[in-house]
């Protein structure tokens, strides 16, 4: 199953290289969002908490602009039926999840690098905690975005529905990740951040298990 899911990921990756459906929209969104923030703050120095919050705001909205692609593009091109005929639901979910995971990691790495270069207060004191938050947050974001994309793919107003449905589902993850990012800014120890880390780990595990179990019902009409 893993090999087949990897083949599906490779198909999506090559398709993305040829169509540039998600990469272009993600890149444009990152540039536009960070530029608007920089223009709006001007010469003022924003606080650490605001920097951390804005970091995850950009991540959330960038994810909303590109991660739905995994299923929406199949639905828009009419290839969903083809996919149903060549792969089991678990293969499809795993393949799409690998694609979104890699996309989320690349996208958020670019955002983090731009933030560290452009924002004065984006200074990480506890690097291990930041990396752990970044990895766990990205996993949660990718899993939740993948299953929500599968749910909304067949709906009419996909563009509106995706962020609307994602917001309440991703809110606990984003809020906890904002808190953990602030901890990493002010050098809070690993032990003191354990509770927040446990929330993110719990979120990832629950979201992954629920998504895997639900996908069969979502995928078939």
């Amino acid at each position: 199953m893993i090999a087949q899911a990897y083949s599906l990921f490779k198909k999506d990756f090559h398709s993305e290289l040829r169509t540039r459906y998600a990469i272009n929209s993600l890149a444009m969104f990152i540039i536009v969002a960070i530029s608007v923030i920089l223009f709006s703050i001007g010469n003022e120095t924003i606080s650490e908490s605001l920097t951390g919050g804005l970091f995850w705001v950009v991540i959330f909205f960038t994810a909303m602009s590109g991660l739905a692609r995994a299923f929406v593009s199949e639905e828009e091109r009419g290839t969903t039926l083809t996919l149903q005929l060549i792969a089991s639901p678990s293969t499809v979910f795993s393949g799409k999840l690998i694609f979104n995971l890699i996309l989320v990691f690349c996208m958020n790495l670019v955002i983090a690098l731009l933030y560290s270069a452009l924002f004065e207060k984006f200074v990480i004191q506890n690097f291990t905690l930041f990396i752990l938050t970044f990895i766990l947050g990205n996993i949660g974001l990718a899993v939740a975005s993948t299953i929500i994309a599968a749910i909304i793919a067949k709906a009419g107003a996909k563009g509106t529905l995706y962020p609307v449905l994602s917001f309440p589902i991703l809110l606990p993850l984003i809020l906890t990740c904002v808190q953990l990012t602030l901890f990493s800014f002010d050098g809070t120890s690993f032990e003191e951040a354990q509770f927040e880390l446990a929330i993110v780990v719990g979120y990832d595990v629950i979201m992954f298990t629920a998504s895997y179990m639900l996908f069969d019902f979502i995928w078939k009409d």
Partner: protein, 210 residues
């Protein structure tokens, strides 16, 4: 000889409150060409999608069995070859790339000799490296037959198999249908008289409207 069988038990489908068909029963086994016919909107495509496990019936059951017993829905796609006008292949890839991708995702080996044989048979061998988006609708339809046949499924489901095809294309399809019908179960959903003449048994959906 194939020991495959498809059994329909009191199959019914409703879209909302609209009844599409009711209490369809059949048992198609081993080999042969079986037809499904009815006027537009009678539910031919719906029935073949249910048989292929793509949509669920409102009530009743479809059972796919082979020598090892009943096939679970999770594995059903490996036993079915499906062609229809509403099936869309990946247009950003060439025919060759599409077929290779399908084999890899299915987890079966990509048999170059077999694929070349089908490409030649369906008159696509000189265009196999062109992107599918540059194909005519008839060429796309012929490619779908290779997509359906390349993994040697036990059941072939052809929904309007000759739509978009010219006379030469139709001849190739009829030849394949007859050949495959001698080895496995072939289901044809169509209104074309010529398509249905190939069938040993035809299910008329008008008879299942309750």
């Amino acid at each position: 000889m194939s020991s495959y069988s498809i059994q329909s038990q009191n199959l019914s489908k409703l879209f909302g409150r609209r009844l599409i068909f009711k209490d369809i029963n059949f048992n198609w086994a081993e080999k042969g060409i079986f037809g499904i016919s009815g006027p537009n909107g009678s539910g031919k495509s719906t029935l073949v999608k249910i048989v292929a496990g793509l949509i669920a019936p409102s009530s009743g059951k479809i059972i796919h069995k082979h020598s090892a017993g009943e096939i679970i829905p999770e594995k059903l796609h490996n036993h079915i070859g499906f062609v229809s006008p509403y099936l869309v292949l990946y247009e950003e890839f060439s025919a060759w790339e599409n077929l290779k991708i399908f084999a890899k995702i299915r987890g079966v080996s990509f048999n170059v000799e077999k694929v070349n044989y089908y490409l030649a048979g369906f008159l696509l061998d000189n265009r196999k490296n062109d992107l599918v988006k540059t194909y005519s609708s008839g060429m796309k339809q012929r490619l779908k037959f290779i997509f359906a046949l390349m993994h040697s499924p036990e059941v072939l489901i052809f929904d309007e198999p000759t739509s978009n095809l010219d006379e030469e294309g139709k001849k190739v399809v009829y030849k394949i249908v007859i050949e495959e019908g001698n080895q496995r179960v072939v289901i044809i959903a169509s209104n074309e008289v010529k398509d249905l003449e190939l069938c040993s048994e035809v299910l008329l959906l008008e008879n299942f409207k309750g």
